[in-house]
Each structure stands twice: as C-alpha cells, then as structure tokens.
Symmetry: C2
Subunit: 346 residues, 2 copies
C-alpha cells in the first residue's frame, strides 16, 4: 500500500487502522443477535424491526460520553472498563423511559491509532453490550492528529432501545405518599471525576495504588469501578407495572435528575440520612473540603438510581427486591408540591 | 447556585452549561416532527415507531465524526457548518443501505463550555437535519477540562434511518455490463483534511484568505464547503427501483468504498478520465506532490457518491438526472471479476 505513504507522513496510518478494524470485527460480531442484518464494514448497520414496530412501540435513544473518568484510565493504562461504563450508563438512561436496550454504537476519537488501546476499549463495550443484551451494531474510530494528547482519546456512545407504550404510567400517576426507592451505586459511576481528581491527586497528592483510608481499598480500584447497570433489577419491575417513574442519578445529582421526572403537583423529599455515605465520597469531602450540598449536586452519593412506586405496591415489590449486589433503600417520599426536589440532611 | 462553586473551580461550569442548554432547546425543537414523543431534557429521546415497524422495515444506523476538517473551523472561527457536514455525511452513509433518515443525535466534547461555539455547532446540525427531513432527537455536550485545547472540540453524530426491505436488490443483482454513475462532490467533503492541511498550510504557507490559483476562490471557502447530501437526488431513484447499489466515496476513496458493495463475481472499472479533476485537488497535487493513486485513495477527487444501475434502466434514469447542483457522470462499468475495484488513469 505504498500509495498511503504520504498520508501516513501527514500523521494518519491507514494500514494500522485496517489491522485494528479486522480485529474489531470479531469482538463486534460476538454481540450480534438474529436481529442484525448485514455485517461489520457496511456503510451503516441494519437492524430488523420485526416484532418491534407499530404504534405500541417507541424507539428510545440516548447519547453520552464517560467524561473525565477517562483520565483515570489513562493514568492507570487500563482501557477495558471505560467502554463498559459507557454502555451501562446509557442503559440506565433509556431505562428511565421504560426501554430495553437493542443496540449500541460507539465513536472513539484519538490522536494516533493504537490498536491495543482501541481493542481494549471495544472489549469493554462488547462486555457491556453482552451484559445488557444489546448488539454492538457499529462504530467509528477516528484518527485525529493534533486533537488528542499521546495515548489519550475520547469516547461517545449511542444507545437505542425499545419501549412498549404505557410501560410507565406518565407523570400524572405520581401522587403524594408515593415512595422513592434508592438503588445503591457501585461508586462514582461516571460523574464528578473532575472534582474527584482534584481532591485525590491535586490536594491529596495520592497515587493510584495508595489505600483510601475511608474504604480500605486502592484508589485505582475505587475510581475505575464499573458504572452499575440497573436494567436486570428494574426492567422486570417495570413490566409488572410496579414502577411509576425512574431517574438515573448522574451529573446534577438528586436535584438535577429527580426534578426531570416529577409532575408540577408533587415535591420529592429525600432523607439523605436513610443511608450511609460510602467511604469514597467521605474521602473527597475530607480532602477537598466540599460542602455536603455541593457533594449531592455533583455525585450520586451512594444511590445510582431511584424509582417512584405506589405505597400499596410495597408488599408485592418486597418479593423482588432482596436479590443481588444492589441494596434497595427507601430514600424518600412524594408530597403535595410544585415539582421541587428537597434534600433533608437530618 | 453557590453549591456549584467548588466544581467550577475544578474547571466545570454547570451554570454556563445550563444556559447553553436552554438556548439549545429551541434549536432542537425546531427539527421535531409529530413522531417525537417527550421533550428536550429527558433521560433519553422517544421516537414513535408507528408506521415504521414490522418485518418489512429495517432500522439503519451509522456513526461518524468530521475528522480534522474541524481544524479549519477552528482556524476560521467558523463553527456553524461542521454540524451540517456531519449530518450530510451520515445521511449519505445510510443512503447506501437504502435508508431515509429519521433522527440524529450529537456528541460534542470540549475543554471549556463556550455557549456561542456550541450554539453555532448545533445550528449547523439543525440545518442539516431540516435539509434531510430528520429530527435532532438529542445530544450530549461534555465539558472535559484537559482533553481539548482552548476553543477546540470534537463532534460525533449518530444517524438512524428506516429502510424498506428490498429497496435495494442485494449484491446478487450486480451483473457485468451494469453502469457506474458518479455524482459530483462539492469539494473535499469531510475526508483527507490532514493531508490537505499539510499541503496548503505547511508546504504552501497559504493563509485562509488566499486565493487558490486552480479555483480562483478563497482557500477558506473551498475548505469549508459543506459536504453534499445526495439524499434528495438518489432516494427517489431507489424507490423507483432504478438503483442496484450505492457507495459514499469517503476515506479510502473509490477503491475502499466501492469494494464494499461489489459481489465476488464482478469487478468495477472506473475510468477516471471521464471527468475533470476539480481545481482544489489539483492544487493539493501541485503543492504536496502527491501521486495520483494516493490522491484517489485519500480524496473523493470530485465524485462524492456512486450508484450501480442496470444498462437497460438508463433511458428511464435520464429523465430524473438532469436537475440541480449535482452533475451526474458515467464513471465506469462492472465486468466479470472477483470483487476488485480497478482505476484506469487513461
């Protein structure tokens, strides 16, 4: 391929890109279901709408990145979890609209093609897709000399899912007295990393292999914990009509995210003393002297997902709610109001 | 919002992000059709599958970026065309699978929130969506301190479309004697910018406002010309069953892209002397002394899209093909072969 020579001198290596592409193909095909038509390498990716279409179905989509959690991956030279983070994050987002994931697509921008890094990223994405039962339908890896520092990259993901009409009852169903259930997070998930990095590395002068006193674990492991996917726990409850509304607690925290699902006739009152603040957040408070209100606006503070449920459904819910790695905590109630989220700190 | 103070000190300005968000909402809603359920600001975006679903429909998706054409936008401080480029590029990609666009989502990564830049980018995206009749269903603007240089950003887009089963006949329909029609490009589109920048700025020491001798126009205008969308020309021909296959000529050029649509029983022979090389490409050849073969591998060389059509359909096609800004040129034929693309230079 000598014709590609001058292009490579200008900073783009088409041969290396081609090599990475063929290895990617295997990872990608491993996530395909019978719904995927066509193959890796087409101009677009075709997904059969058989049994998905019609007026009773909605296609629900969301797009996001991983934010500056990527900087931890760069520091740790550990690139096979951020893709999984991205998929799980987006699964949780579309779950708030009652959707089950059907396919995912990724964009990776990097300064210089590095096959090993790209394959690690896609490995994490493929694992996330398998965990959540969706196809990795396609993606783009863009070599952009002069945009990203050596060994660095940005990733974005696009998730498509299908929601059955009426799986969630709509905001009108929310009533004073409804309970707000919180589901525990696995750590920071993918939010607040700019502040967390400032606390640990700039103020605390910590190294990735240092032990965090409040958790007893290595900083590296805490900061790279994979964003938890709530799909397997929550979606079956939605199908049983036990969930009135759901919010993924990401940037903006409780206030920024729960306010999106309230009607203008109710307020959500969150009793933050109903659960223990995980050590990793305590550690950030200690190091960066962040006020508790700001902590709750930037971080999930131990609760990664909340659902609003009817008081009368609690006995039925109880049966389904004592399984797995995820703790379920009644974190608050709805009361008559105007759509506000009120955090009570004791 | 004093609780956001410390987070801002760490480099993330939630207030400015919120302000940009509310101005974005207006641009986004301007692209909505009756198919969009929900509103800007939800966790995901819902799109009704009414009249789209069933076993006769495929959802076709593609993801891409604009590549280093963005550097031209940075140099020119001109941010309202790259979004349009991105949409048109992806429209052309899914058109190769016979799909019409239904919705688009964007990801913008930038180092520091700059409302004006983000709004310009989204303005271009919204214009692209309107041109191609698709909804701008959602997007993510990620503020990532330390990832991008001051005033720089990366953008990625996700396009979803619907293809009717059988709108294209499949590779088996390709026969020796079929014609390859080329559709003229508006310029570089979004490929080869790393090499083009090297030629014009590094070797040629040109400024954006210099006149390109081969075109008689300003370099700025040539390099920022919007990627042409072939949807309005090609899709009606697909519905009339006049198109056997289609390829978008992007990175990889004729060989890299036409080879994706050939069957293993035919070769595509392209007669590059059937059309004139546009001045902008001649200028790159002169400055960077790039060989013609490499030029055809990196750039579209004046033909942005090709279709394969049956010889007998030419009389019917002729009626539809003399309209608009886009020139249609018979660029080659299929002959018995093994799936190769052969470029003839006279």
């Amino acid at each position: 391929m000598k014709e590609a020579k001058r292009y490579r001198e200008a900073g783009v290596d088409l041969e290396s890109a081609d090599r990475a592409k063929s290895r990617l193909g295997e990872l990608v095909r491993g996530t395909f279901s019978g719904k995927v038509a066509g193959d890796f390498g087409d101009f677009g990716s075709a997904f059969s709408l058989k049994s998905y279409g019609g007026k009773e179905k909605y296609l629900v989509s969301s797009v996001d990145g991983v934010g500056t959690k990527l900087k931890i991956a760069f520091m740790a030279s550990h690139h096979d979890t951020v893709g999984h983070d991205l998929v799980n994050h987006l699964v949780n987002d579309i779950l708030c609209l009652g959707a089950r994931p059907i396919f995912f697509m990724d964009y990776i921008g990097l300064g210089k093609m590095n096959e090993d890094i790209v394959l690690d990223i896609v490995k994490g994405i493929a694992e996330g897709c398998k965990e959540n039962g969706c196809a990795l339908l396609g993606g783009e890896t863009a070599e952009m000399p002069g945009f990203y520092s050596e060994g660095e990259y940005d990733i974005a993901g696009f998730m498509a899912g299908i929601a059955d009409k009426g799986i969630l009852p709509g905001k009108g169903a929310l009533k004073p007295g409804d309970l707000i259930l919180g589901f525990s997070s696995s750590g920071l998930h993918t939010n607040g990393y700019t502040l967390a990095r400032k606390a640990f590395f700039e103020i605390g002068k910590m190294k990735l292999d240092d032990i965090v006193p409040e958790t007893g674990t290595r900083l590296r492991d805490e900061l790279l914990k994979i964003h938890f996917s709530y799909f397997d726990i929550i979606y079956p409850l939605m199908k049983k009509k036990l969930i009135k509304a759901a919010a993924h607690i990401t940037g903006g925290g409780f206030e920024g995210n729960i306010s999106r699902i309230l009607s203008p006739r109710v307020d959500a009152v969150i009793n933050t003393y109903h659960w223990f603040t995980p050590g990793i957040f305590k550690s950030i408070i200690r190091l960066a002297k962040v006020g508790v209100e700001e902590m709750y606006r930037v971080f999930n503070m131990g609760i990664g997902f909340v659902t609003i449920v009817g008081e009368n459904d609690i006995p039925r819910l109880r049966k389904y709610l004592d399984a797995g790695d995820c703790e379920v905590i009644p974190v608050g109630v709805l009361r008559k109001g105007t759509g506000k989220v009120i955090l009570q700190y004791e």
